[in-house]
Amino acid sequence: MKAVDALPKSPLGVRVVAGGVCVAFGALLIQATLAIPEGETGLAPLVAERLPESGVTNAVTACLLNFRGYDTLLEIAVLVLAAVGVMAVGGSHASAWKPLARQADPILSALTRLLAPVMVLVAGYLLWAGEHAPGGAFQAGSLIGAAGVLLTLSGYGRPAWVSHLALRAVIAVGFIVFVAIALGGMMVGGAFLEYPREHAKTLMLLLETWLTVSIGAILVSLFFASATPIDERTELMETDRG
């Protein structure tokens, strides 16, 4: 039908004003980034100087979990809030985790059976390697989330032994552990979120492990809590072809 291709646009006035605003804003941004003086070093020397005290040797992980730990605490809180919001808005089938595949496509199923354990293994490696090499909790957690999405798309639903309560507990545990460690630092005489120096490495590894588990569970539930089960889904994009 001709109507699909003829996309009605916003009125001309809106487009002109929007175009003007965007050109002006873009020019301003470009001028601001190019105006940074030549010898700027940012915070890199400060980080390099304090890196041995932080417990890890990867600068980005040290920034994420130690120097800017407050940002990461609020970030995991945002993730938990998003999971709660998606479950709340999702409708009657939220948190149902029904299988999404119409019937298990055999090639996809075979590939998933090969890939999903490897993804979990690589996630474990990334978690461990975050201390001295690129990696860390977010990369590992996102790999676990991707493995979960792949499993859902291949027709493996929620296993029977994972109850709704258990899933929600796993979603919350990362944030709870983080707050517990932050408050625990206060109780042994430091400030909020200050790790005791000699235990910093252990605490960060413990924290990263629970964060990984939690992030993986959150990403999987963001996907399936809002995904429509197969009996309510229509053919994908059949009206869009041509």
């Binding site: 109507a3 409708g91 690129p134 990369q139």
Partner: protein, 116 residues
């Protein structure tokens, strides 16, 4: 800091021009499915850009989250909306007045395919 013509300049120019062209194609695309697939490709190119900028941590996270999970979420949402790009204008045959229709004339009256 690297200035002038440096050895990796060709890679950087190719990646940047591909990013800008892809972004333009995504924002100008009418069909939703095509735009989302182009967006997944855009996410992978951005992951390459992170590698060029010596940010491997971000590259790992962007490839998994930015391209993978966001792409899967968008495709699922677009499938839920039946792939319609936009409502379309209908002209009332009698009075010639324009209005906006959100369903095709050959569809049933229920919206959302039975949700809720």
């Amino acid at each position: 800091m690297i200035t002038g013509v440096y050895p990796g300049l060709v890679y950087d120019l190719v990646i940047v021009s591909a990013l800008l062209w892809l972004a333009f194609r995504i924002l100008a695309e009418v069909k939703l499915f095509k735009a989302i697939v182009l967006f997944i490709a855009f996410g992978l190119l951005v992951a390459l850009a992170w590698v060029r900028l010596a940010a491997p941590d971000i590259a790992l996270a962007e490839a998994a989250i930015g391209a993978g999970i966001t792409g899967a979420l968008l495709l699922d949402a677009a499938g839920h909306m039946r792939g319609r790009a936009a409502p379309y204008p209908v002209t009332d045959p009698e009075s010639g007045a324009e209005s906006v229709g959100t369903k095709r004339p050959d569809e049933s009256a229920t919206a959302g395919g039975g949700m809720q």
